[in-house]
Symmetry: C4
Subunit: 231 residues, 4 copies
């Protein structure tokens, strides 16, 4: 069932250690098949070295396991809420990648300091508040999803233009049109977080890049007038 998708999700998960984004099992990738309304996600706490495509877990959007010998990632309810709220999203990644998580622990959004950031993410990467005790006790992972959804709506942010978020004291989620693009954005986020960290150390009075430069780079790669790459 969904063998192709399981293979793709498996491969996307294996990119996390390849790109240095995870220690042990601290990460997970999923991708959704919009036609069937099923998504495939990594099992919880299984070593990357031991993972196979067959270990992937198939879930429906009501949170029922449809196939798989393992429990799904403990973050599955967060993925599920994002898939339900944002039909533009096809793949989701959660990691504890080092620099992005450090920004999340610091409780700060990552300003757009340059074109590396602007090429992929429009404006700052928002850092959301912590969940309240009530939200944590009631349904931690699901409410993490609700918070991301509500805050993006409140801020008027487009999930296609801002494919990354930081959860305070926790870590990043990224997404994309599929699992592979979501991993790509996780790599971009880590690199952007690293360079923003260093840029602030070099110049404590640093300002974000001018809006016109951000626009230029973002629209050079996205939208109808894009001219970067071969498409």
């Amino acid at each position: 069932m969904l063998e192709e998708l399981k293979k793709r999700v498996y491969e996307a998960n294996m990119l996390l250690p390849k790109y240095g984004l995870v220690t042990f099992t601290w990460g997970n990738v999923s991708e959704i098949d919009r036609e069937s309304g099923l998504f495939v996600i990594k099992p919880s706490g299984v070593d990357y070295d031991l993972l196979t495509p067959d270990d992937m877990v198939v879930m429906d959007l009501n949170g029922n396991k449809v196939e798989g010998r393992y429990r799904p990632s403990s973050d599955t309810p967060t993925h599920l809420e994002l898939y339900k709220a944002f039909p533009e999203i096809g793949g989701i990644v959660h990691t504890h990648s080092s620099y992005a998580t450090s920004w999340a622990q610091a409780g700060r959004s990552i300003p757009c300091y340059g074109t590396t950031h602007a090429d992929y993410i429009y404006g700052e990467v928002p850092c959301l508040r912590c969940l309240t005790k009530e939200e944590i006790d009631e349904a931690y992972e699901e409410n993490t999803g609700h918070l991301i959804v509500n805050e993006f709506k409140r801020m008027g942010k487009d999930v296609k233009a801002v494919p990354a978020v930081l959860c305070k004291n926790h870590g990043p989620f990224t997404w994309g049109k599929d699992a592979h693009e979501a991993v790509h954005n996780a790599v971009v986020l880590e690199e952007v977080a690293k360079m923003a960290y260093r840029a602030e150390t070099i110049n404590p009075r640093i300002q974000p890049a001018p809006q016109e430069l951000q626009d230029k780079h973002y629209y050079r790669k996205h939208g109808v007038n894009a001219y970067y790459g071969q498409n």
Copy 2:
């Protein structure tokens, strides 16, 4: 004698260079067989490249070498005191891993700034005082063990919930139910120390993660209501 255990301790020692936790011979791992009251530890100052399972040294809890052609690690008396005082501990690691040692050199406990920390360690990683001149002169390594034991008792800390400590101006010790888990915790500690360092640079007015979030993540992975992983 204890061939299985020697092999396991050897393999756990070899994980230290694999995870980038040691330079040269700056680290050691041990594991105890509680039935016989014997523990196995790395020999002192032997290159990781040359190490074999047969080089491991078997010690009893009175500090006598029971088997082995080499001298045991110079830190053996510290391991011994921890095994005597804490029956819950089955394996111990000492390294000079870079970020954890930097916190130890700075003389600061590592606050819990996020869920990566809270997933494994309940509350801050304590940094203990230096030994006094008298303690150093009398029995340096043994008194290091006594200090850890006494301070954990004084602070009311449970060694299962806080599997790591920093010795001021020296470096970290970690432990676990066996050698492998102790190494796992050494990796976690280094990652946590790195992200705490960066988070403080990003936000000098940073505060620890809210207690309810720390509790949620710790108890998601530990105790009777744990639901992370496959067990």
Copy 3:
């Protein structure tokens, strides 16, 4: 056509991931054949893993593609302006290498703090202003080239003695007598940017290296009295 040159430019491009200077496709190298007035450059947005010498794009100095199945790098107009203005330059590199880009994002020139810098770059690595909205809208990449040319002329800097520049909120360009030397200088710049970052953290009141030491090291490796190396 220009098969030798395409091979050399291909190989120089492949050095960027080898030296850790690029993530994904964030970099490009070109080299010019001054006799024919043609230069060869990497195609835009093609994975390094998939690149072959035949994928390289041949351009003339009027900005026309002379050969190649792909679009040239989006930064091609910048390369072109530099080749037109500086006949001493034979190869050009653009990357988003982490430390150099962090200085660019911080909007600061890199002072010469030591002999590693002075061995290759005479005086500071200048960080130029951002383009204006008008310059961006009119012809972003071409005007980036104009800015570099005009600023080097205004500052009286010799492109042979200062083979590197930072574009504010963007990243570095380096150059050399050919593509290979330009890559060499990109590696030097990244290392110099890293050590300047760290040196400022260690000593916030740091001063540039004395002029006589800068001169000694630069002229030990360059000019008629050079005595470093085997030539």
Copy 4:
């Protein structure tokens, strides 16, 4: 001639890239044969990838090349002065390793913040002044050697107990009883420089490790009462 020594010096040089201490050709190792008064050193500016034992250059203590097809390292006169002044030294290393060089660029001695440092280096790693214009113009590399010799004598430092020095705005030299030990000390210095950098960031009011702890660790590994390792 001195084939054994050339092989050893070659191998010691090849350890520099292995341990990540050099970029390109920025480092050199030598070792002296005290009986013949000849020392062997890396040639100047030759790629590590291309180096063979036969490329090593044999020098006498008057600065004459005795054998070798290449010019010796441009830093040869510094090595020579150290060998002449300090009969205890058998091997010397110069690198631009990143953290040690950053301290040199910052013009600061590295305080002893912990036992990693104290295990190998007794007290701080001194950072010497820059050479004067006169000293540079007269004989730069030779006068670098004189400065190290004179400053160690003035400070009453024993080169066996302090096997490392920083030359301001330049970089480190380390030494040992042979080339291999000198490389070992170069690795130690880089690690110590890195952890001191981080420890100061974590605690800006940090103090050096207590003298009694420094003594304990140094004498645990050195002198008649040493008990670390197998000898």
